[in-house]
Amino acid sequence: METETLLLNMGPVHPSTHGVLRFKLRMDGEIIRDCQVVVGYLHRGTEKLGEMKTYLQFVPYTDRLDYIAAMPNNYSYVKAVEELAGIEVPLRAEYIRVLVMELNRIVNHLVFMGSLLLDLGASTMIMYGFREREKALQLYESLCGARMTFNYIRPGGVREDLPDGFIPKLREFIKDMEKRIPDYEDLINGNEIFLMRMKNIGVINAEEAINSGMTGPSLRGSGVDYDIRKVEPYSIYPDLDFKACMRSECDSLARYLVRVDEMRESLHILEQIADTMPEGKFINQRYGMAPTTGAPTAVMSFFPRIFTPRAGEVYSRIEAPKGELGFYVASDGTTKPYRVKIRSPSFCNLVALPKMVAGLKIPDLIAAFGTIDVVLGDVDR
């Protein structure tokens, strides 16, 4: 039977798009023939702002990119600046950085699980996810006073040292999470409806995924054993024992399962850090002045607020919870960056979506889109 195709607008305001994102769908009955993704509703000109702020002033703006997991954003930018300016970082600071980033990975994946299941119509998981996330956010609050936009990692180290009793609280969190993850698996993994919605939906093979610029857990769900923490190790990752989680089914279920496994690996990393956290300085003090008498040293940052890296350019990337997060920073030898370019994982992962959902139905689009795990602040910058 010949049918007409219908143009259907989904979004920009739609509960399952996790923000403001629009799909232009060409529908043949219930089947998606063509999907066009329209982005940009949350564009704030972050890259332009980068050119107008000093190196240190730009750090809080990076928090607003991927606001679910802001620590890796801080770190990725700071790492680029450090490579450009040749700044050394004390070992304790590196340990603290990896600690907060891996904790953020768990937070990110909890929100991912919660929102994915909510999109599929199961509202239990988001309650559990947010309950556990709250404990992690309280850890962050005790660390830097903020729950989501931290502004904590900065050139030379971190802003403040760990507060008293942080490590014991972290151990409690790890112990708690180790019990919770099997609970989630009991709740979700065997659920027949969940499996029917996820299995063989949104399939993309390894070659297409690489060509479309997919990175992170989404790529590892397509059977590519690639994790920047392993391939181009940075910070203290070479000293840590963990594995890059991978699945070869290439479908939505594989992308979901990779993230559940990653939470376990992150917990394992946190355990190692809790056991081996070295003593020492939390920020590089070589360039700075001595602490003023009487000032509380714990909240003093010794690294100069204004510094000038040599002229040059750098592209530096890390494995953020959503994929490859890179910063291109060019310096012209002044106190402000000449150009800041953000390579965000959410933006590049969306390129593959139309390919993944062609020939499926709208509920499958929601399931496949949920497993890519994008944050619109990161897409639109």
Partner: protein, 167 residues
């Protein structure tokens, strides 16, 4: 031998110079030979195009491509220098699909035209936006107002007249 030197040996006429982009090998290439070099870069095993960056250097415009090879675990950066009055370069969408959005973004914010791109239009800013924000001479004083019209198209104005529709 690093990948940039390898590229220079293979295509001596297309590669102008080789250098370093902080830890990553960098090759500066001729803009006319972009597609030829891109095909060679793909054949060398660089299957992942990480990012395309456009930089306005006031007297010229630079485009920087960062590649990574999943097979060889190597990095490579390419740089092309363009004329600022009419920055144009061949699109590489036919080789790396991710270039579709990356090139649209560079066109949108820096104003570089990618010849042969299947659908070169603005991606982050609305169609009809005046100027390219990441150019150094972008006019930041003039406000621009955007509304979405009845037919779904973006309407941009500098005096806010489009905000008064229906009156």
């Amino acid at each position: 031998m690093n990948p940039a030197e390898e590229l220079k040996n293979a295509l001596p006429n297309s590669v102008l110079s080789v250098g370093i982009q902080t830890n990553k090998p960098l090759a500066v290439i001729k803009k006319e030979d972009m597609l030829k070099v891109a095909a060679k870069v793909r054949d060398m095993g660089f299957d992942n195009l990480s990012v395309i960056t456009g930089v306005d250097c006031v007297d010229r415009i630079e485009v920087i491509y960062n590649f990574f090879s999943y097979k060889k675990k190597q990095n490579l950066a390419l740089k092309v220098v363009l004329d600022r009055s009419s920055p144009e370069i061949d699109s590489v969408v036919s080789i790396w699909k991710v270039a579709d959005w990356l090139e649209r973004e560079t066109y949108d914010l820096v104003g570089i035209k990618f010849n042969g791109h299947p659908d070169l239009m603005r991606i982050l800013l609305p169609e009809g936006w005046i100027g390219y924000p990441l150019r150094k001479d972008y006019d930041m004083k003039t406000e621009q107002f955007v509304t979405i019209g009845e037919d779904g198209e973006d309407i941009v104005s500098t005096d806010g007249s489009n905000l008064l529709r229906g009156q």
